[in-house]
């Protein structure tokens, strides 16, 4: 396995497993965080390390292998107003805009997107060109009329 010069994967995977354990804790399925950790390690450690490998590869791609522009992953935080210019809806029929006067809020990002910084007109400076839209779940889709 090859790692980036900046990385210490074991620490990253531990940290990631802890974050996932926090999510499991939210379900109240275990009486202690330790049990949640054991559950995550048993079920997902291999998958987590696989994700880390790909993420490290991407880091190297963005820092070293793609030099003609600045590329980066895109992520939308919960609560962000949905914007179909840079996001796609997990449950949406295409990228249909929200109804007039309504601003849909993002519940969570399910797939990261990719953006590329490019120079626009002189008065525009650097612009982020979306190469792959971030896929999100909207609050209206998961919470129905409550939202």
């Amino acid at each position: 396995m090859t790692y980036s010069h900046l990385s210490r994967p074991p620490a990253h995977s531990t940290w990631l497993v802890e974050q996932l354990a926090n999510v499991i804790d939210e379900t109240g399925s275990f009486s202690s965080t330790q049990q949640s950790l054991e559950f995550i390690k048993a079920v997902a450690l291999e998958g987590v390390e696989s994700i880390l490998r790909v993420a490290l590869h991407l880091e190297r791609v963005f820092m070293v292998e793609v030099t003609s522009s600045d590329m980066s992953l895109l992520y939308e935080s919960p609560g962000t107003i949905f914007d179909d210019a840079g996001m796609s809806n997990e449950f949406g029929s295409g990228d249909a805009p929200a109804s007039p006067g309504r601003q849909d809020r993002v519940a969570g990002t399910t797939e990261v997107g990719v953006g590329k910084s490019v120079y626009g007109r002189p008065d525009e400076g650097r612009l982020v060109k979306i190469l792959l839209k971030t896929k999100v779940v909207l609050e209206k889709d998961v919470m129905g009329s409550e939202v």
């Binding site: 379900t27 993420a55 190469l131 998961v142």
Partner: protein, 213 residues
Amino acid sequence: MRQLQREIEDLRGRVVRRGTEIIRLRGEEEKLMRECKYRDDRIVELEHEIAQMRGLYQEDVQRRDQHTQAMEERLKRTEELLATRSAELSGAHAFLSTTDRLSEAEVLGIVRDLNENIYQVAVNLTEEWEKLESSQVVIPMEVDPTSRPSVPALVQLVHDRDPAGLTFLFQACLCSLVVNMTSGWGHYRELSILESVYQSLSTSGEHCTVHPR
């Protein structure tokens, strides 16, 4: 007899004249001797001056040689530095080359692979969690009703034990992590994803879209 006397007189006159001439010549000789001595002394003086000037000149030449040597060493160091910097610049130029080793399509392929991995881990976790739910006594969660409006939608789904919500929350966690990883290692260590989810909801109206770089 007269003839002889005249000749004697004539010879005497000639002797006197020669004597006078000799005296004059001796004076002249003395004068020339003095001049020669003065010239000799002057020569010695000048030789001494020349020796002094030669010494000064040699010192000056030596100083100039030292200065030249110092300048040559400095030039040599500068040339070495230039060579080093040129090599570095050449390396930097190669690094800064605008030729990408991967195409956009290849990068997108890696990102799709990443998303697929994230989805797979999220689904596996959810499936195992569901099995757990059916086989294990679940400790009831107590959620303060007053806090519910501030709970993010996905977390709310998890509170409601909705598997889809759990999958989405796992995906959101993993997405957040990898974005922070690829945008700089310094930021994410102190970031708790759930904390940030809560914070983003509690600051109503404010939203922070992560745009690394």
